[in-house]
Amino acid sequence: EIADPQKTAFVLRKAWTLYSVTPLYCFRRARLSDYARLLSAFIAAEKQKGLAVEVGVELDIKVALSSLADLRGSELDQAALLVQLSSRSRASSKNSEDKLVWSGWFCSVFGDDLSENVPENFTCLPLFLTHGAESYTSLVGSWFQKTFDCCFRRLAISPLNLSWMVAMWAGYKLDRAASAVELVFSMPRLSQPLDISYAIHPEDAKALWDTVQKTPGEITQGEVDVFMDCLYAHFHRHFKIHLSAAKLVKVSTGIASAHCDGIVKILHSQYLPGVLMLLTELAISQIQ
């Protein structure tokens, strides 16, 4: 359960790009302001080298690093680390507000599988989420890699994992009217790309999941398979197309949406820990 919804509001309703990160070596929480200064200098130096992020506009990038104690699963998890890049245009007056141009945060929600096997001096924050220009992500990533000897990899989500997510999220109870449960499939081996979007009324989806799930709070692969098979069978009955032969690329529910390229959007704070726990698990299995 998230203690303070205000602190975690920034997570909601934004498209986050996911990465897995190997443990950070010699990361010291007490030195956050030092790190912010060093990262800021690094970014400025890279811009001097001509690796301009924004062409034309002169921007000073300010870096802020902060710890988010609320974003974790248990006491065994490290508190989340938030990195924010803001800009203040040199042209405008000194009193003008900073504009947030990029944010990224490292977190671990019930990531014991990784942290219990790691030697001292290593900090485990296997999930990295970014929002903003790719060029900034690259800069921040390079600095972390150089400073803490860690490795970033885009976190792809397989159709198998996406179906797990849609089954789980479709089954969650939502108080107010939720948006449709939507699955997007990409048809293989065609000369021109063709996507099929399959939208289901959220109440129907939840009703279907309720008949499938045997033990509340527990989900098995078999139950996910039955749920998906029902959806495929229904679609085939009406359209004579076997969606099971296509690639599931995106799932959307009232709780959250996820794309196979590793992009998620979380819409509901109540289920934030559950979603993050699943993503942490995916990140850890990509690392191991």
Binding site: A156, I157, S158, P159, L160, S163, P188, Q221, M228, Y232, H242, S244, A245, A246, K247, L248, C260
Partner: protein, 131 residues
């Protein structure tokens, strides 16, 4: 001889040579291919499962495009007492190596290798998998 599913069309029964081995191909990116194989298995005579059936899982190079759990395939293979081979057809080296393996198995199934029968070969493969 390639077929999209079983049973084979009966019109050509009299023209067909003896079938020595059946390889069921499952594309890890397609749940449909697994369902198709499961349905087709019902049309295979029980005698084939004494070493003349093999499951070939393709597309394993693309971990991020998995639509099937490998456990499900392994369980299926165990149920039908037949070996599973995993391969990636898009990589030439693996494609060639897999073809050679299948050819070798076919030679055994057709009785061309003296001293090894299809049944003894498959029990050899099974005991090495248990390790």
């Amino acid at each position: 001889h390639l077929a999209a599913s079983l049973p084979l069309p009966s019109e050509r029964d009299h023209l067909r040579p003896r079938i020595d081995m059946v390889v069921f191909m499952i594309d890890i990116k397609s749940k449909y291919s697994l369902k198709n194989v499961e349905t087709s298995l019902a049309y295979v005579d029980a005698n084939f499962f004494l070493g003349k059936v093999c499951f070939l899982v393709t597309g394993v190079g693309r971990v991020n495009a998995c639509s099937i759990e490998t456990n499900a395939v392994c369980k299926l293979a165990e149920t039908y007492c037949s070996p599973v081979l995993f391969c990636e057809l898009e990589l030439e080296g693996i494609r060639a190596a897999t073809a050679q393996r299948l050819l070798r198995m076919l030679q055994i199934c057709a009785g061309h290798i003296p001293g090894i029968s299809a049944l003894s070969f498959v029990s050899l493969m099974r005991s090495s998998n248990v390790d």
